[in-house]
């Protein structure tokens, strides 16, 4: 059984009358890599700052291993932060930056030197100890910030969009490196990002936030394949939303749904369905099959855009009723019909069972608490 390390309960926060967090509950397990994901203004940074102690909740409590931290100042919390713009002390060398936290603990000099050198070796910067932060590249500064935060052996590492200032390639390298560090150190990582790809590839669990509410809490796979609501489905990855209408509920845990005039049989969803009810049929671009126009199966449309992506071919298809469909297909050298020209008529289909159904929500997506643990 996983042990809860940090427990947030009933947290609320308002800034100038605007609600940033609204009675939010979250349990963070010992040793996990958990990501707070959401668009800007969703409350993810505020939440992280509350864990660090830079902000205090209007209501609610924060406990770490049973100990109440709600009003503990940041300097007395056994947590450390990696800041978005690194926040390295510009007047100190790399060594002094990393040693700062240990000096504040009044550790003996020998121990400080040893631990700082270990931390710098861990991020492969042992030769840069004498440099000043402004003499380092962005990626190197990032590593110093990480070394400075982990050298104190915190119970938890809080990372506030730490990779957002790096270019794409470096970001990928740092993602891998952060994962490796987390495995080696066994420290709980709380990672804030607005980049859903980053969240999916790094985390054990993802918390999708919007307007101070948790939209969904689950593994990357759950969040991607079984989004709890339309917001999560839209925010995490690309999705085709097809309008469906329940034709009939069958006895064998399946329902028949009318999609673009096609009668398709789907697994019965978690929510209650009644005949004639409108719902959304969600299909990821990679679930879509593009077929030749003479096939019996599928909905007719034509190709309006195609992007060669190396390993996949991404196309945009307009159906006859104007619906835009994104399709992403892996190359299949045995399929002679694979390549389409622009404007070419095709049929769009999918494999039943790969879809995900969500109830129709009044637009814009309702702000109900859909917590799915």
């Amino acid at each position: 059984m996983k042990q809860t390390l940090l427990s947030l309960s009933n947290l609320s926060k308002q800034f100038d009358g605007k609600t940033v967090l609204d009675s939010l509950d979250l349990e963070i397990f010992d040793g996990e890599f958990i990501t707070l994901l959401g668009p800007s203004g969703c409350g993810k940074t505020t939440l992280l700052r509350m864990m660090a102690g830079f902000e205090h909740p209007d209501e609610g409590t924060i406990t770490l291993g049973g100990q109440d931290l709600t009003h503990t100042p940041p300097e007395n919390r056994p947590l450390n932060t990696v800041f978005q713009n690194y926040a390295l002390f510009p007047h100190m060398s790399v060594f002094d930056n990393v040693a700062y936290g240990l000096k504040m603990e009044k550790r003996p000099k020998d121990e400080i030197r040893e631990r700082v050198e270990d931390a710098l070796a861990m991020v492969q910067l042992e030769d840069f100890a004498r440099r000043k932060p402004h003499q380092l590249s962005g990626g190197q500064q990032q590593r110093v910030a990480i070394a400075r935060a982990v050298v104190k052996r915190p119970k938890m590492l809080l990372l506030d969009e730490p990779l957002s200032a790096l270019d794409y390639k470096l970001r990928r390298t740092m993602q891998v490196e952060l994962k490796r560090l987390q495995r080696e150190l066994g420290i709980t990582f709380v990672f804030v990002t607005h980049d859903q790809e980053e969240a999916l590839s790094m985390s054990d669990r993802v918390v999708v936030l919007k307007d101070g509410h948790i939209q969904q809490l689950g593994t990357p796979r759950e969040v991607y394949e079984r989004p709890a609501n339309l917001f999560t489905a839209r925010f995490v990855g690309e999705t085709n939303f097809f309008p469906g209408r329940v034709d009939s509920a069958n006895g064998d845990d399946t329902i028949t749904v009318d999609v673009f005039g096609l009668k398709r049989t789907f697994r019965k969803p978690d929510f209650a369905v009644s005949d004639g009810q409108a719902l959304h049929v969600l299909l990821r671009p990679e679930d879509i099959r593009v077929l030749a126009p003479e096939e019996d199966d599928g909905v007719s449309g034509k190709v309006v855009e195609r992007n060669y992506k190396g390993s996949t071919l991404d196309s945009v298809i307009h159906l006859e009723d104007g619906t835009e469909v994104l399709a992403s297909e892996f190359f299949d050298e045995d399929d002679p019909t694979f390549d389409y020209r622009l404007g070419e008529p095709v049929k769009v289909s999918w494999v039943d069972g790969w879809e995900w159904l969500l109830p129709d929500e009044p637009a814009p997506a309702a702000e109900d608490d859909t917590v799915d643990a």
Binding site: F54, P74, E75, L79, N85, P90, M104
Partner: protein, 285 residues
């Protein structure tokens, strides 16, 4: 690279700037250096032969005493400006942006009045039957007027009043640049308020402190009209000595030598300021 057509303009600007510096900065200073190594002459003010008598005269205990007293008053002024200006600039950087502009504006408004006039105004306040004494007496705090004018205190009050903005503005600039996340990082790493102040805030605002000291300490040794109006005969500044040598004693070499020493002191402070900025990775001034 600039195109050839822009070259004449560029050349003209450079000639103007260099010409200005050469004729209005370099040459006068060179003349002062020249005067300082010449001999006093009652008729032509200065004459040959060249010698270092003027500098030797500076070491005269009488002048040394004036210099030290002047340095003391200037240092007190600087210290008081720093003690007021540091928290002032810090709080200024914390208030909302639109209010900051207004507050800085209010700080600059007194500059529109001539500082001589403002010093006379201060004299009216500090005088024996001036504003301050009358106020204190009518409040019953004192029985008879205090002697405030023509004291060392009056000179320091005058200097602080005139020079405080020069301390606040550079300090405000460094506090404005001080990023909150550095303070957060310090707390996050286990430092309390005091440790953060000593290890992060002070070193990062040091260039502003030195710039402020530079802008206050040296003028505070030179603003001769402040002791003239507020200080009486015993509270002289180096500026008074220089002024007196040129205008009253007619000893140009000695006045020039005193100016040179003051200039060298300024150069030393600027060097220290540059060094402190380089430490935190900024370009020199």
């Amino acid at each position: 690279m600039r195109s050839a057509r822009q070259q004449p303009f560029r050349t003209a600007v450079l000639i103007l700037v260099w010409g200005w510096l050469l004729f209005l900065v370099f040459t006068p200073n060179l003349l002062v250096v020249g005067a300082s190594v010449m001999t006093r002459d009652p008729g032509t003010f200065i004459s040959l032969p060249l010698n270092l008598d003027a500098y030797r005269q500076l070491l005269n205990p009488l002048y040394l005493e004036v210099f030290l007293h002047s340095l003391y008053m200037a240092a007190m002024t600087t210290l008081i400006c720093l003690l007021i200006g540091y928290p002032f600039a810090w709080s200024l950087s914390k208030v909302a942006r639109q209010h900051q502009v207004l507050l800085i504006f209010l700080l600059i408004v007194p500059f529109w009045t001539n500082s001589l006039v403002r010093t006379y105004a201060l004299k009216l306040i500090l005088a024996t039957n001036g504003l301050l004494n009358s106020a204190l007496m009518s409040l019953g705090l004192i029985e008879e007027p205090l002697q405030m004018l023509y004291t060392e205190g009056a000179v320091i009050i005058g200097l602080v009043y005139l020079l405080l903005p020069f301390m606040i503005l550079p300090l405000y600039a460094v506090f404005d640049d001080l990023r909150d996340d550095l303070l957060r990082a310090s707390h996050d790493l286990g430092a309390g308020r005091f440790s953060t102040f000593i290890h992060v805030i002070v070193p990062l605002t040091l260039p502003g402190v030195l710039a402020g000291v530079m802008l206050v300490l040296l003028p505070a040794m030179g603003l001769f009209f402040v002791p003239d109006i507020l200080g009486g005969s015993r509270n002289l500044l180096v500026g008074n000595v220089i002024k007196n040598q040129f205008l009253d004693a007619r000893n140009w070499p000695f006045g020039a030598a005193a100016s040179i020493v003051l200039t060298l002191a300024m150069a030393f402070l600027m060097f220290a300021h540059r060094l402190s900025k380089r430490r935190i990775g900024e370009e020199g001034v």
